[in-house]
Symmetry: C2
Subunit: 346 residues, 2 copies
DNA sequence: CTGTTAGCGCATTCAC
DNA sequence: GTGAATGCGCTAACAG
């Protein structure tokens, strides 16, 4: 046993109770169910809590109640406006609850994800939020064993684990290709990363291929450069390769706005005008897309709203579970929208 | 009491012990101190763990051992390369330990920070990492009461709470001004946000003022626009205001690379050449700084290394505490470096 | 090297 | 509206 209060804050619930002249149970009630306690007692207890600077120990509470108060949330990267916005959306939606996000990032590795899931399960999260539909077998097994609701987001996996909030990156990218075709572009190319670690990027590439084929356009103009998520510099590099290999390429779709920016900037360096020499589009509608010159055509994704939906499902699932039910698997598709700007001609 | 395994994974340590034909304590040892258990027993126990897909409950472990395994880390925003890199640095440094980051973000509000701290203290973190030196009185009180080591990062507060890892944003910005002066600029201006929520931004502005005064340059050319962290668009807006108000301004220092990018792009839209008409510099050396045309002069900050230092101190502080000591307050200053590029003339 | 005992701090359950 | 008893799952301490 540890020494009393070793590393802890100040006092225990029992000490608060002593000071207030009530039982520990009453303190507990004041904290989590104040309305069942008489006003007078409530005030006494609150005073004692104040005076002792009492901070409840959630580990103890969790152990006793079987509710950790944690929501595990695993994203590929924190340094990405899209995921950061989604996390904000989730947080905001959960802000009026006692639930706390346990955040982790995988660096786009399913192997890291497996370790993260294992680590987080030790905290007994009440729900688990994952990005995408690509997981190791072991991850899937772990997730099935634990009864917590699982939400996959940012994708629409064909075989969902349970709940899904996302959109088809393939369709979204396909729509972009269709719009470019409508603008008169006939020889589009695609720039993305070299591996399939970023499954959303891979889906966009697939969407590009499907759409170009359907439109009878060349579907093979694909440059893969760099480990996803690819950088501005790699976008620049890939664009040059693209135009060297297929000089008559008239529109380039980049896997993200950042690589699109890199590509556009490289054109400016070389004196190739965008969109006259070549049109360039991105994906994600990051801040830079609207603010660059030329502004960047892209696909807007409602990252924040996606997070809000996820948060709402988390709350519903937990509410159901509290009533002894299980929320039926939800499948929410979120908004996206092609936004044409100066980097492609209309 | 909760129903057995309600919401939990599968089995308890006792069940693993039963299956392996040992006591629960031995299972515990295999998990956290394997070398003290005989090889034969170890194998038996590991087998049972495998077969039952046992996942230990850290809440119980924490309660019993008095060690939560959590490190609280509070940053202003997740959507900021600098902080994201710092978090990566911390994570990486802690990756060979059993410590887990409990991440929170304040949206640049000391009030949110106070709530976050209170929430996180309920998890009994073994160390607490804060960004900057600006906190409410109540936050400071809470932090003093809990015995966990506190680390302030990304700043060099005059009155540190305990440990500090950072650099002087004021000095860094001042150095930038000096370098611009060396390049021949005599009428510099500063663009930043309207409030002091982002204390690092405020410090940079102060550094600008101090340096310009010391050099005998005008120190009053300051445009404040937008709530920090200011956007690209606000950078654009502020630049126009700057040149309208003080047309002979020859160099503009922006509080971050993003606002600098906005400003530069606005110049391009208006046909004002950078750096000929006006030089523009940023802060942070984000990806965009090196990749823009013109590339952006800025101050490089070793965000990742800063995080690594923080992680190292966390480990040291916990190690000391385990030996019954207390690590003497550390004060680590991290690297920064003025990087002159195309957006300022040399 | 292994087992036994006890208790971490709280919340559930049931009395009153 | 309040209190007492009990145990959540694990680990420290000690005994063997």
């Amino acid at each position: 046993m540890k020494k009393k209060n070793d590393g802890a804050i100040g006092s225990t619930m029992l000490e608060v109770a002593g000071r207030a002249g009530v039982s520990a149970m009453t303190v507990s009630r004041v904290l989590r169910n104040p309305q069942v306690v008489s006003a007078a007692t409530r005030i006494k207890v609150r005073k004692a809590i104040e005076e002792l600077d009492y901070v409840p120990d959630q580990a103890a509470g969790a152990l006793s109640s079987g509710r950790s108060g944690f929501i595990a949330c695993i994203v590929p990267s924190l340094d990405n406006s899209n995921f950061a916005e989604t996390v904000r959306g989730i947080s905001e939606e959960l802000s009026n609850t006692a639930l706390q996000l346990l955040l982790g990032y995988t660096n786009y590795s399913v192997h890291s994800e497996e370790n993260l899931v294992r680590t987080m399960l030790q905290r007994r999260p009440e729900a688990i939020i994952l990005t995408g539909g690509d997981h190791t077998d072991r991850t899937r097994r772990l997730l099935e064993l634990c009864e917590a609701p699982v939400i996959q987001m940012w994708d629409t996996p064909a075989k969902p684990l349970e709940h899904v909030v996302g959109f088809s990156n393939a369709d979204a990218c396909g729509d972009l290709v269709v719009r470019l075709h409508e603008c008169g572009y006939r020889n589009p190319g695609f720039i993305g990363g070299t591996t399939n670690r970023d499954t959303r990027g891979t889906d966009r590439r697939e969407g590009f291929i499907t759409a170009t084929k359907a439109l009878g356009l060349p579907a093979d103009r694909i440059i893969s450069s760099g480990i996803p998520p690819i950088s501005m510099q790699e976008g620049a590099h890939a664009l040059v390769q693209m135009l060297e290999r297929w000089p008559d390429t008239d529109a380039v779709v980049c896997v993200s706005d950042l690589s699109a920016f890199g590509a556009i900037t490289e054109c400016r360096r070389r004196g190739w005008s965008v969109p006259e020499r070549v049109a360039i589009a991105g994906f994600g509608d990051f801040e830079i897309a609207a603010n660059n010159k030329p502004s960047i055509s892209t696909v807007y994704v409602n990252s924040f709203g996606l997070g809000e939906s996820v948060g709402r499902i988390v709350k519903q699932a937990i509410a159901s579970s509290n009533q002894g039910n299980k929320l039926a698997p939800q499948f929410v598709t979120t908004e996206y929208r092609v936004v044409l700007r100066e980097s492609t001609a209309s």
